[in-house]
Symmetry: C2
Subunit: 94 residues, 2 copies
DNA sequence: ATAAACAAGTTTATATTATAAACCAAATTA
DNA sequence: TAATTTGGTTTATAATATAAACTTGTTTAT
């Protein structure tokens, strides 16, 4: 009746990150931080978890001389997001 | 852009409880336990939190000689549920 | 009548999670 | 060149979820 909600996605910040990435090709750390309003520390930790789950890829490079971390949603991440939304609907539509 | 999700409702079990109660007049502990698959201990704790938040009322009585705990959604609980759903949509529809 | 098993929970302890605070290295600006 | 800013990471703390153990009383079997 109430399907299990993917614990990786059932987190305010991680869900926001995935939602954000679902709409763009990729986004960098600073942009995600701005859009979500998260602190850098929290964001760093949550990006690690999403990355460890295989839901995003995190690429580190440089833009000019400044470090730049770019995140991209993986197919697995998109699929998990879709499943999470479907599961949620079981909770909110009854 | 990403509204804050009510932390009282952003919990798998508490959300299931509210979702369940939103569809009926009231439900007792055992029924909620069965429907959600929760352990008694977990359910007890989460019902306390929902009650403390004013989202449900918890009435203790007896059915025959056996104790019976009945839970009912309050107007505040229903309103919070509605707001939570609206907030969620901001996350899942972009 | 008494022991064993069951019902309906609560309390307490533990594991996990989220969050913030402190820190670091390099780049930029005053 | 000293102070500030950028772009983060690491570590510590607070909050949460969950399960295990316990309590109180009832029913059933002996």
């Amino acid at each position: 009746m109430f399907p299990k909600l993917d614990p990786i996605l059932h987190s305010e910040l991680r869900l926001a990150v995935i939602s954000l990435l679902a709409g763009v090709e990729s986004a960098d750390f600073t942009y995600i931080k701005q859009q979500t309003g998260a602190t850098a520390g929290n964001l760093s930790v949550q990006l690690d978890k999403l990355s460890a789950a295989g839901y995003i890829t995190v690429e580190k490079g440089f833009k000019g001389k400044m470090p730049r971390t770019t995140c991209t949603l993986t197919p697995a991440g998109l699929e998990a997001f879709r499943k999470y939304i479907d599961a949620l609907k079981e909770y909110i539509s009854h």
